[in-house]
Symmetry: C2
Subunit: 192 residues, 2 copies
């Protein structure tokens, strides 16, 4: 976000993003990089079969702990064909939710920083999973998504070429896209 055409003093809000505050944050981080270090958290409790419940309550960032305005409680379940009762999206659908939301926000925030007004963004995505991996039936089959395809429709007064640029920028700066595209170390341990 170092290249931009925004008049920082005039444009305070673009695409619903407080651009003045965004640039203030960037200046603060340049002085104190620790401000940028965030820790996101969730807890989960198993209910029954494929049904479990995640609570997202607090996080650490800008050098202090923060509570969300209220805790978010998210039911996860499997559909009937996967032996659940369909009481919520399943975990691989939550992953898609994070991915599409993150690409969208990265696109909107970075467009705002560049002074590009966005009127609307709609998107859809689809990912392939061969459940022989989950079931341990075939060691050659990937356990996770083999691939994911995302399609964006952007309503803005810019050329298709510039829309393509926005999409590239979204990929470059989206934390979830980069977590999924690159190998991310996950340490799992037993609390005794």
């Amino acid at each position: 976000m170092t290249e931009h055409t925004v008049d920082k003093t005039k444009t305070r809000n673009l695409n619903g993003v407080d651009v003045g505050q965004l640039f203030k944050t960037i200046e603060a981080i340049k002085g104190t990089p620790d401000i940028a270090k965030f820790k996101f958290r969730a807890t989960n409790e198993w209910i029954h079969g494929g049904h479990n419940r995640t609570t997202v309550k607090d996080f650490y960032g800008a050098q202090q702990d923060h509570d969300h305005l209220s805790p978010f409680v998210l039911d996860e379940d499997e559909p009937e064909v996967l032996l659940g009762e369909d009481k919520g999206p399943n975990p691989v659908e939550y992953l898609l939710t994070g991915l599409i939301g993150c690409l969208t926000s990265a696109l909107v925030y970075h467009a705002a920083a560049k002074g590009i007004q966005i009127k609307g963004v709609k998107s859809r995505l689809e990912g392939d999973i061969d459940l022989r991996g989950f079931l341990g039936l075939s060691p050659d089959v990937k356990v996770g998504y083999a691939n994911i395809r995302v399609y964006f429709k952007i309503d803005a007064d810019v050329s298709d070429e510039q829309k393509e640029e926005l999409i590239k920028m979204a990929q470059k700066y989206s934390p979830v896209f980069n977590t999924v595209s690159n190998p991310t170390p996950v340490w799992v341990s037993l609390d005794k």
Copy 2:
């Protein structure tokens, strides 16, 4: 799930998982591997700033399209410190939600397949993101999670060693864990 100690005719339901149906599904997949090919989907609409909304409505699997019992609508937003209005978990928290739910379900389903009764599972996780990556302030900083730590508490009449085995199994067979741990291709394109 080929090694197991379950009497398939007697144990119909363990940990809320219909084990008889699970083994029937496995047999069906062995005969017709295409049954195991699933496509999960979501759509998203941007609302304002960091606020967008994902809908999870249908998926493909077992050789046909399926609707969820009802569509799941999930708000995503950023907290105030990240210039949002905190109207939902943010995308990187949805990723954690998918990860913890998936590890939990993999643990519970595979324990059921092995005849291990689970009384309870609680877990928590935390991941580190340095927002200098998102902001494009430092090319050396990872844009996604640098790492994620997951902690499980398992209530079951088995030894700690067996609990450690359950956790290893969860990692081996969890689709979200494997999507995040390994590089997963994500294709993003413009719908014109």
